[in-house]
């Protein structure tokens, strides 16, 4: 029963990723293709209707999936690396270093995340563009904002993981197998990566499945505020914001709100269910 849930979840997740990768190629409409058919309700030609500029919503959603998922993956991975490294060091070395490191986490916790991300993005947006322009990475310069979004979201997400990892390491490092590996003369890096890290791997994997929806959610929120992905790129959050801005009491183009909302919510629900299942499996072990 549980196994079936997990398989179903993975199948659906693969479908979503597949749609993001291959979907745009199958669509007859271009992503920025304008047409005179503005704000048409769903029909045979435009399955999910068109937006204010006559762009096909389904195509935009498929392209948006690429951005949203990419931001989710990269942001979650960055927070993963940071959180694990920070937690490992603080937990293993303990004492004053641990104290100082954890106070820093406390302080960052008390700062509203949104303030941190906004400042990070605006602070380095232009600088990064200029730096990239002179190098071989110049093609990336136009996407400086996107790169910063990755880093910024990763930077605010890692705090929780750092606390979890640290707490785990604190108890694991007292266990006999760590002591014995120290006795036979293994160095600190070996102990950290070969002895302790494998022990906390299941927790990390679970965290990743839960951080992925969290980062996607946060990106969509930033895009909703107009701070995230910039036009012509569009994420699910941008599409939703576009739809919500057309909300009015007379004739709201409902499809522009309902379909992006459904896409975003069902994806997040799926990821949350998957993460939940993984956590349950761990608990029962």
């Amino acid at each position: 029963m549980k196994n079936r849930n997990r398989v179903m979840g993975l199948v659906f997740f693969t479908l979503i990723v597949g749609a993001a990768v291959f979907g745009p190629m199958l669509s007859p409409h271009g992503v920025g293709e304008l047409s005179s058919q503005r704000l048409t309700a769903p029909n045979l030609q435009n399955w999910l209707g068109t937006d204010l500029h006559g762009r096909d919503l389904l195509t935009r959603l498929l392209y948006g999936a690429r951005i949203s998922l990419l931001v989710g993956f990269v942001g979650a991975s960055i927070s993963l690396v940071l959180g694990v490294a920070y937690g490992l060091v603080a937990g293993y070395f303990g004492g004053r270093l641990d104290n100082a490191m954890m106070r820093l986490v406390d302080i960052l916790y008390a700062l509203p995340r949104i303030v941190l991300v906004i400042v990070l993005i605006t602070l380095f947006d232009q600088k990064l563009k200029h730096t990239l322009d002179g190098t071989i990475l110049a093609p990336l310069a136009t996407h400086a904002r996107l790169l910063l979004l990755f880093v910024g979201l990763g930077l605010v997400e890692w705090l929780t993981l750092a606390r979890i990892v640290r707490a785990q390491v604190l108890s694991i490092k007292e266990r006999p197998f760590v002591l014995s590996s120290r006795l036979i003369g293994q160095g600190t890096p070996t102990i950290l990566f070969r002895q302790i890290l494998p022990q906390i791997l299941p927790i990390i994997v679970t965290y990743l499945t839960l951080a992925l929806p969290a980062v996607i959610l946060e990106e969509s929120f930033l895009s909703f505020l107009g701070l995230g992905v910039q036009a012509p790129l569009a994420s699910w959050g941008t599409l939703l914001a576009d739809g919500a801005s057309l909300l009015n009491p007379i004739a709201t183009p409902w499809w522009l709100i309902v379909f992006p909302a459904l896409t975003l919510t069902s994806t997040l629900l799926l990821l949350n269910l998957l993460g939940d299942q993984l956590r349950l499996d761990q608990d029962s072990r």
């Binding site: 909703f224 009015n248 919510t265």
Partner: protein, 306 residues
Amino acid sequence: MLLFFIRRFLSSIPVLFSVLILCFLLVRIAPGSPFASERALDPATQSLLEKKYGLSGSLPNQVLRYTGNVIQGDLGESLKFRGRTVTEIIAQSLPRSLLLGSISFTLALGLGIPLGAWSAGRSGQATDTVLNTLALLTLSIPTFVLAPLSVLLFAFSLHLLPPAGWGSLNQLLLPSLCLAIPFIGSCARLTRSGLLQTLRSDFIRTARSKGVAESKLVLLHALRPAILPLVAYAGPLAANILTGSLVVEEVFAIPGIGQFFVNGVMNRDVFLVSGAVLVYCLLLLFFNLLADWLTALLDPRIRLSS
């Protein structure tokens, strides 16, 4: 006990000031000037303005001046809303967010705990699965999706509730529900998992074998230790929810404090942002303290002084 409160109070002062200084610095080093407008500002005016608001000189000097003022209770003047002090703005907008937030917080706990307990009582049955999926669903719907959708449905289609505004009771209903819904879900989940864990413990088995009724078992014996994780979660939640949600306030046109967090940063309105963050941080520290105290009340094994 008193010692615990005093010690916690003292240890939170450095955290408070670190957050305040960090926030001030972050906004000050961000590019763009709070005085910028469409026209380019000539350097003389710029420096005069900076001097007037105490933003001239080196960064450490500015920080020192600002923290000195804060200690004396002066949060400075807003740079964007000219002529209004930050204290004034907060005093005006915070009560609205507090009202909205406390309704939402009550909803989150008042609905979340019973739903979670119900779900735990039916563990493994269809009710449990449905409730659990629903709870996850509430966590998967962003507020900025929920808010426009509910306006579309309840205000524009069914004409049951007003779409926006502030003042009357039926104007409060939709925004406070939108704000509360994700937290109802997480409260229910925390209660459920806490209860399931507690119901497996030895003292529950003892009580059950003594013949205590199942409902009494859950309410009187199990619930108390089971909601400990919820209490820890509710501390930061209260601070979050009381300082308002930017999205809910924007969609329903409520002039609360939430909007100042983001708008302040965008405008580089350094005093306003720092003031708002100060309020947030104070609430956070206060509710964390409250949560720790409640935890010790609920779990006699925990000693406050340690």
